[in-house]
């Protein structure tokens, strides 16, 4: 399925958000996720089914002012 992950097109096998993180080797990273602009808490990623064309944001701690 074709997804947009962090602004980049990506072909993915994963059918849910948790599986996508595992597929990207992000499973153990401290990140927050959003699906089509909606925040998806960590414990809801497994039940967040993905569909063709979904936009996913995976955010991590970064320097800031």
């Amino acid at each position: 399925m074709k997804l947009i992950v962090n602004g980049q097109a990506r072909e993915a096998q994963a059918s849910d958000l948790a599986a996508l993180l595992a597929e990207m080797d992000y499973a153990d990273r401290l990140v927050a996720t959003a699906l089509n602009g909606e925040f998806v808490p960590k414990d809801e990623r497994k039940s967040a089914a993905l569909a063709d064309g979904d936009r996913i944001e995976i955010l991590a701690p970064m320097k800031g002012g």
Binding site: L30, A32, F39, I58, L59, A60, P61, M62, K63, G65
Partner: protein, 255 residues
Amino acid sequence: MTSFYGFEPASRLFLGTSQYPSPKVLEDAVRAAGVDVVTVSLRREGADGAGQAFFDLIKALDVRVLPNTAGCHGVKEAVTTAHMAREVFGTPWIKLEVIGENDTLCPDVIALVEAARILSEDGFEVFPYCTEDLVIADKLLAAGCEVLMPWGAPIGTARGLNNEYGLRSLRGHFPDVPLVVDAGIGLPSHAARAMELGYDAVLLNSAVAGAGDPVGMAKAMALAVEAGALGRQADPLDPRDMAVPSTPVFGKAML
């Protein structure tokens, strides 16, 4: 000491973590200034895992983190970012930025009030990046904010306190609300001036990170903030127009 949602920092300087020449310089600057609160943000994670390394550095500093919603331009974007920050950083604190104009990074204060209300009702402890507008300040407090963070000048401009009258007026209208001058500071004297006006803390980033010697400037800012606060507490002399001799006139020799 002023309490920020129940937290009493030992230092009245809050420091941003962006734009330093290296992680080591950031670490040294934070330690040199002795700050208890640093601002952080969320950005897209890359394959290199840079975000994880950054957070390891911050955790080692043993400071409170104040995540921001920098770059957000609307209520929904800011609220969603705040939720993501709360999960990642494990804190209800959020420096709420909703930008309304790109050249000045002036806050969209209407959207700010709405986002502050939504987040406060959801248990967030909101530090709103606002202007010195008294009416908006009142609405932010009514929305649940217990701290206000008016700008000194637009972010990164190093212009100091653009509207000193407005900032003094805000302090006068809300004597019991913790107030932080956030953004626009360039010099230690700007930071000291904010504290002389009775502000409870100063939040800055570019002035330190962009200085030729960030660690030296961090120390200077910490001292300036402390000096300004001590000066305010010491009840300074009012300015006057006519000279008043400080050396006694009585007893002066007639030569």
